[in-house]
Symmetry: C2
Subunit: 342 residues, 2 copies
Amino acid sequence: MKAKRTIRDIANELQLSITTVSLVLNGKARQNRISQEVIDRVLKFVKEVDYRPNHFARSLRNGKSKIIAFMAEDISNPFFSSVARLIEDSANNSGYKIVYCSTENNTEKTRELIRTFKDRRVDAYIITPTEGIEKDIETLVTNRIPLMLFDRYFTDLSTGYVVIDNEQSTCTAIQHFIEQGYRQIGFVTLDSDQTQMSGRYKGYIRALEASGLPRFVLRIPYGSTETSIIDAIINFLAENREIDSLFFSSNYLGISGLKALKKKNLSIPDDIGVIAFDDSEVFRMHTPTITTVTQPVEEISHKLVESVLNQLRHEESSDDIRKDKIKLPAKLVVRESTARKK
Amino acid sequence: MKAKRTIRDIANELQLSITTVSLVLNGKARQNRISQEVIDRVLKFVKEVDYRPNHFARSLRNGKSKIIAFMAEDISNPFFSSVARLIEDSANNSGYKIVYCSTENNTEKTRELIRTFKDRRVDAYIITPTEGIEKDIETLVTNRIPLMLFDRYFTDLSTGYVVIDNEQSTCTAIQHFIEQGYRQIGFVTLDSDQTQMSGRYKGYIRALEASGLPRFVLRIPYGSTETSIIDAIINFLAENREIDSLFFSSNYLGISGLKALKKKNLSIPDDIGVIAFDDSEVFRMHTPTITTVTQPVEEISHKLVESVLNQLRHEESSDDIRKDKIKLPAKLVVRESTARKK
DNA sequence: TTTTTTAGCTAAAACGTTTTAGCAATGTTT
DNA sequence: AAACATTGCTAAAACGTTTTAGCTAAAAAA
């Protein structure tokens, strides 16, 4: 068992000062006029003995943890776990590790999580914000902590974010219903005022207004169990028997919706048309296959991590950090669930 | 903006020594004969000014990062992201944060990841090991680093682990096929010698031998694309036309399998029976619904985190760490895909 | 009264880096 | 020959904790 070597040991063994070794190791040798001979000697030795600097000491000294916090609503949701997977490698390659947590869209919990992350001087944040967390996010921003929101954001807060064009993509989806001959279009959404949900709602309204069709809206309380969602949808359909199509504004609403329709023995797409937000294997494999508004997960993830790393790189420079405000288009993937026999 | 307060500031403001404050904060006041009056004074003040100790300094001093590494094969796989979600809260409640990474079952990558985690003095590991990583795991064990393997383990390594009884559960599944009247049972698995896969294979063999039925085995190379898996399965069926049922030994093999069957227009369960390993929403929603060997994800997660936290608690004590070797039963969830009309 | 014990607190070292300020020797300009 | 610049390196402070060893004063024992 070789003893852990410190920079001090290295310095002693090479008959150099700690300073010199440190400068070489940090690539600041040239600008500090360390001779090439010494540079080579240090580099060679350090490689030989596989010296690995102590992260704690380094962090203590320079205040950086080399950790990025990934705060998603629920890491086990396929959308969020895909993002988690896709940001992972780039972060690692830049020397960052990612700690995750699930906010459950619970503001109190999120606040507490941010607190503990602050304690650990996490270097950057990627967050799906909850409704009441605005102030806390603002504090991070004023402290110039690199930060990106995603999935939703705060219109009156100057942060970077990556979202999709919820209004336009939903509008397109509803128009697709209309083109397929559906006229009584129901909208099942979460009872939430966050940007992503209000955007989807606006898209629904806009499409309807353009064609003068009636509205049918069901708002599900946040955190409802699957069975209560299913019941709510069944009720909704019973009270509005004219409905001939349903738009589900999230992937798990869609899944519960399909279960509800199955339970009522309604046939898709003939009795009722279906479109769900967020793609997933379930929708691709379902019989019939389900038309979805598909988020560009790769691009979202890529932009998120790119922007955060960029902020981290330019953190020192006094000029303003680039706060990317990115709105990506989502794609309507047309499948069998909207192919009505006319 | 209030300046960050250090323990030194606290000590000064209270006219006490740093030592005293530190002892109180760490609950070691009583055993060091600090008077109750001083204890109260410190605790009150610290609460008032919301003092938060610097993690880096603490870590540097005592060598603990308060971080657990969660190394799964692929964090975006529903099985692993569920575990991630389920271990998260208990870990947080005990003051630990979780960093994740995806090994892709790539030994070189895993080795490198373990290296970087070691550099950061991660306190504990929860790992789905890859085939070649035995030595590296062993090093962790000899260094007495708290560690749990899951999903698979090394028979000749003394580590804690949580797995399911792959052999028994697969055997039961195959027997179910037989009871349902299937006689030509195909087994689609990954070309891997890891315990979970060999266990499932053994279960298949055992069930067949008991009834003298023929074997049909397809081994898919690790890391195959979905399309190549589908092609392989289609070929396999073409070359073995007598096959009347298929067992898929992982969830994504099952999904690819269903796509292959759909492509060949084979009807489940009449043309062919289907059982998949690992449950997922896809199998519950599929038409017909798919019989699965369902892993007890909650229990797996619970045992994992409980055991790791236990190891962390008793790390100091010189007596042997408890190395829980847990094998949980998996449940056969019978659905429509094995309900052959006889 | 002197010695010993105990109660209550603290000084200082240590953890392992990064970085500022500066020193000595050599080279260059006046 | 004196003054200045440059090259090549280093001493030491700082980051903020935890913990060991020990000090002083009061209480108890001799």
